[in-house]
Point group: D2
Chain length 135, copies 4
């Protein structure tokens, strides 16, 4: 199972008037981990584009359980959980020092053929090939 | 039923390398509409804080169906759908020109007592009072 | 002299832990006013691109004199001050309620020929024509 | 002379429709390096606040000479150049692979006494003490 972990440090500009990370900024943390995950099988955005497909996010879900604060280290674990018809990735963000889970999230992406602009109902062969799965 | 509509224009800095609004920026559009909705019953962030409660977002869900582009006008409709135990707001974002639905979303907020930092399992009376509901 | 004024409202997500707009977000406010200014002579980003030129920002200067706060209305006045060799725009941001000047800023853009990727040391004719100036 | 270097990787969400980092996002890169620099003498935002002073940015200048792109590593070097009356920091951002200078920048911060909200025309003793300079 494809899985990565990245460690980030909360920057000052992500913290809101409540002294905690503004909830929308977690979407950035997810993307940093997602790109790292996609790179483990050589299929990050540039490779997607080169392969003739875009993979827009069609679904994004976040549950917030705790608050990240300025200067704190957070770990984002991203796990690939679906790939046959769509790319589904689950995420867990934890505070490194306390081990507390801050956020659980998931994203769903689908392939869109750049030439036809059509949505693909099955993942294109290139993805399965990158993942080392025989189509 | 409490409901508002706001019209926004997509700024250049929200558009990504695919020439469409980066998916994370929609969270900002939701917040602009949410604050507008909360103001219709005089309970935006400053009033929340003055009332002794914070209302952090605990859940955020987005489904993307279309793409907003630079300079386009988009409408964000926010509707209050739950208030007894938590604040749940539904959103629909449409492209003004074409009428196409771009995004459907929802957020859930819960009250946290500022003094005790305890989560409230029922909405505090101040919210119901602001909404004109007898507790 | 080309000049526009836009009124913006400070969103919650632009406010930092000090309860004031994070200094970097003013760059967005400048861009909103700049695009509005460029539209008065039909030369916003899409028209720039169609004309065969990019106009990257090469210089950005800001002086901060006051702080914008959540929910406040701010006015951004953008004035075109140079166009022969480069586009220089001056900005003044004021708090609408108090009239206090919050920020003074300027940006400089130069034309880059998309075909050759060469910097233009004189503004291309298309700009002067859009501005109604005989080249 | 106080000086730090940080290496960052350009995230997808910082790249604009021109496939380059949107010019406003460099302000974030400066802040990441600045916080790192301030930590070398134990005077980052939390320590500033604890010392009874805020240090708002009053001036920000950027010159753009090249473009950072998605996935590229960039180095931000921050150097403390003034401290007696104000904190002035110079920055240089370079593309790690090519060594090309992308951006030169500077920020100026002044001390504001939290109790009186008055601007300090000389740097408070705490700063000089942190810097190991006898007042």
């Amino acid at each position: 199972m494809k899985k990565v972990s990245v460690i980030l440090e909360v920057p000052f500009f992500d913290v809101d008037a409540m002294q905690i990370v503004w909830h929308g900024h977690y979407v950035k943390y997810l993307e940093i981990a997602r790109c790292e995950l996609l790179r483990t099988f050589d299929y990050d955005y540039p490779q997607m584009q080169a392969s003739g497909y875009m993979w827009p996010i069609v679904e994004l879900n976040l549950k917030y359980r705790g608050s990240a604060r300025f200067g704190k280290k957070i770990e984002v674990v991203a796990t690939l959980v679906e790939w046959e018809h769509r790319l589904k990735i689950n995420y867990r963000i934890t505070d490194v020092e306390s081990g507390q889970t801050l956020t659980k999230a998931s994203t769903v992406q689908v392939a869109v053929d750049q030439a036809t602009q059509q949505l693909c109902f099955e993942s294109p062969k290139i993805l399965l090939s990158k993942l080392g799965i025989e189509a």
